[in-house]
């Protein structure tokens, strides 16, 4: 009999980036890269495991913005164009590296990856990845949970109506797509504030995940540390993140992804190769960017890199999976002996870490799941829902406000680089709340305008914009997005006030920001 459980939780999210007004848009590549490197490889991984009759349990959060993009016809079409372009580049690379065997092999590897991805996307999945993910949920392998509508950072939204709208919109979008309500909700950035559980409860959410100290600092003291479920006073279950498992994968220094045999993310042919040669495959503006074709391994703390050897890297991934499993066995054995109940070790990660950042991450995951099944019997994989079935009686605690951002609270989303957005966001929220009150149950064109206003507001609230402003990467784009959505919001408001709607403008905005087709503005009515 097992002595405890490991709950692997992957949070897959991208902000809504879709620009029909441009022929090609740099930031849409985030989505294409994540598809190629993370989402499709994850599906292939599930497929292999199921084929080999390996039972597994995994929790996957698919954010509503990501689901919307997975569903979008324009982005699908553009993804195929992107793949074609990458395949063309790979063909050139195969030729270019013909007299350098260690690179030639890698060029072939990338060619194979891109063409196989295209084949799967078109022929096997019929461009519908959501259906594929749903399939594994229906078979009981995967527990798909939802997230706030546009990944708004809830502790800084100020108005309860705004918080509720984010949660409700996320829950109803999920329910429509997966034809059942979600059990769990991934709090954007694990951001929690006192009282948030009430809104989750109202939306039917059964559990959510917190950063370690969100549970550890709870009042009263949580008896089992982060190794058990708890309830809030509104009877929503909480799980806290384990530090050890998070460090061993996340940390770029002590963590597995920093191993010298793994692929080096920052050496990319988009930067390395002759400009004229690579120009057709980088940004339309001519700026060098990452193409995803990378030939070197981390090698060591040196700028001089050696060619990547996939077989060696795979061996390392297996070794690291073994190490991870061994550590969990010891951890769970120990916890079992002191806690007097079977512990749960909750290990949440950003899904895009696997495959995209940590190229070998998907291999690691596969080795880990197989090893857990065959090489030990101390613990099993589980999901929060399954654990709650096992332990429906739990201590009642008041979880601590926290986030999983740097320094553990709200600073990442509230500092000198991004604090200017909140005066604007909060006022817009207030406008929306008041309009929802004023225009109760209107129909026809006014409803259309109000619905679009609600979408613009939600899009402006995405935590990603504040995050990008903080890190400095793509900060200009992030600023532009917040401003653009709020400007569209106020423009639409003028239509209502003047009682004159410019349909070209309305249609144009609807076309650009076509997220959540069924969204109802009355969401903002308290």
């Amino acid at each position: 009999m097992e002595k405890g459980y490991l709950a692997l939780i992957l949070h897959a999210h991208l902000p809504f980036v879709r620009h029909p007004e441009y022929k090609e848009f740099l930031e849409e590549r985030w989505f294409f890269e994540a598809l190629t490197e993370t989402y499709i490889p994850l599906l292939s991984l599930f497929e292999r495991l199921v084929n080999d009759k390996i039972e597994f349990h995994l929790t996957l959060s698919l954010s509503p913005t990501l689901l919307s993009m997975l569903n979008d016809a324009l982005l699908k079409e553009r993804y195929i164009n992107y793949l074609n372009k990458m395949i063309e580049l790979c063909e050139k690379e195969i030729e270019r590296t013909r007299f350098s065997p260690s690179f030639h092999k890698l060029a072939l590897m990338y060619y194979y990856r891109f063409s196989r991805t295209k084949d799967k996307f078109l022929n096997q999945y019929n461009q519908d990845l959501i259906k594929e993910f749903k399939k594994y949920q229906d078979k009981g392998y995967l527990e798909i949970i939802t997230c706030a509508a546009t990944h708004g950072f809830l502790p800084l939204l100020l108005h309860k109506e705004a918080v509720k709208a984010q949660i409700e919109a996320g829950v109803s979008f999920y329910s429509k797509i997966f034809s059942k309500p979600p059990q769990g909700l991934w709090l954007p950035e694990c951001g929690y504030f006192e009282g948030l559980d009430k809104f989750l409860k109202e939306c039917g959410i059964k559990y959510f995940i917190l950063e370690t100290h969100g549970v550890l600092f709870a009042r009263p003291r949580p008896k089992f540390g982060v190794y058990s479920s708890y309830y809030t006073k509104n009877r929503v279950a909480i799980f806290g993140r384990d530090i050890e498992t998070s460090k061993s994968v996340w940390s770029s220094i002590e963590g597995y992804p920093g191993d010298y045999n793994y692929r080096e993310y920052f050496r990319d042919i988009g930067f390395d190769l002759d400009y004229d040669y690579i120009k057709p495959y980088i940004s339309a503006s001519g700026a060098r960017i990452f193409t995803g074709i990378k030939y070197y391994k981390i090698t060591g703390p040196t700028p001089y890199k050696e060619p990547y050897v996939p077989e060696k890297a795979r061996e390392k991934a297996a070794e690291h999976a073994g190490n991870f499993m061994f550590n969990r066995e010891r951890q769970i054995e120990y916890l079992y002996s002191v806690l007097g109940r079977k512990p749960i070790v909750v290990a949440p990660y950003d899904a895009e870490l696997f495959g995209h950042w940590w190229f070998e991450g998907i291999d690691w995951l596969e080795f880990l799941i197989r090893k857990i099944k065959y090489d030990q019997n101390i613990f099993k994989l589980t999901t929060p829902s399954l654990y709650l079935k096992l332990y429906p009686k739990n201590q009642l605690i008041n979880p601590a406000p926290s986030s999983w951002g740097w320094k553990g609270y709200y600073e990442v989303w509230l500092n000198g680089s991004n604090d200017w957005i909140y005066p604007h966001l909060h006022r817009a929220q207030e406008v929306m709340i008041n309009l929802a009150k004023r225009f109760k149950n209107v129909n026809g064109e006014k409803r259309r305008v109000l619905n679009q206003m609600a979408k613009e507001l939600l899009l402006a609230q995405a935590s990603d914009w504040a995050f990008m402003m903080k890190t400095g990467n793509f900060s200009e784009y992030a600023k532009k997005r917040v401003i653009t959505h709020l400007e569209r919001f106020y423009l639409l408001k003028q239509f209502l006030e003047r009682d004159f709607i410019n349909y070209e403008v309305l249609e144009d905005i609807e076309n650009k920001d076509n997220i959540f087709p069924d969204l109802d503005y009355s969401l903002f009515h308290s």
Partner: protein, 366 residues
Amino acid sequence: MRKKIRRKKATNNSSLKKTLRIKKTFPKKPTSGKIVEKIKKGVKKVLGRKRTASKKKRASEKENPPFLLKMANSEKEKVEISKFTPAQVILEEPKEVKLEEKKLERKTKTKFQLPLRYYDNRIILLPRDPWWLHTYWDIAESKVEEVKSLIPFEEKDDLRWILRVHNVGENNYFDLDIIPEACNWYINVNKPETTWYVDIGLKTKKGNFFLLASSNKVKTPYFGISTLQDEEWVLPEEEYYKILGLYDLGRSSLERRKKLEEFLKYGISSGVFSPGISSLFSIGIKEKQYKRKFFLEVATELILYGRTEPDAELTVAGEKVKLNRDGTFSLRYMLPEGNFEFPVEAVSQDKKDRIKITPVVSRSTK
């Protein structure tokens, strides 16, 4: 400390202004064909008679494209953007501007800018972490005048702008001098799990306070492991600390509490607890470790080119190469260190003629 904050404020403000300036200079967006068609139709319908007039205007626009002006704009924009953006990140720049879209954009853009100010006499308080709060305000000049008129004449000089930070539980407060134009402030309250609100107002020399606006209440997040325990759910202290991975905390409970506090504080502030999140766009953290100030990277490639009969079959090292229509070919190869042979062979269409040429290249570094 305060000085530091002030400087920070100043940069905040200017970055906001920059943002807005950039926004103005953003080039108008081109659009995909489909939407243009739609818009064209719409424009036809709505404009009706005005169409001829606008046609003339468009024509004149075409005659005198504001080319120089546009160049200046986009150059300026590039410079502006480069101040904020790392080298590899450059926003997509549209190549072609459709006039219809431009018109539409003008309608939507110029009239509807994000307000710079709201003049709604408000102050809002937000928690940042267990020790810091953030506040922003927007007090209309008229409101300031109104309040000033209430101040006795002899106290009207040397008024100071003050944030009065109230600790609700302890029912006390402290004052902070602020610069009103900063519009926001970070407040070090240094007290977790406490409820606060702030008043913004004017303070006279005599110490009288005149309120401009009062904020919402906010509670700083908790810090530390609770001493409060459920009877039903108690675990001995030593066991409990072991679960946290703490084995040697010392003997006295005071010593233990102190060590625990240090451990937790270190964990939080160093990022051990929340090692940060990565996402597709959070690159740069690790990259910086490798960034050198000065560097040189040299690589070589070889271009192999030539021509033959357009219908001939050409191979390089046994691999077939596709010829251009005129029979020319151009191939580029990565050229690492070493000796390389490039056997090029052409075979005529009727297979009767066969020519083989093998350039030999040796590449080394001095």
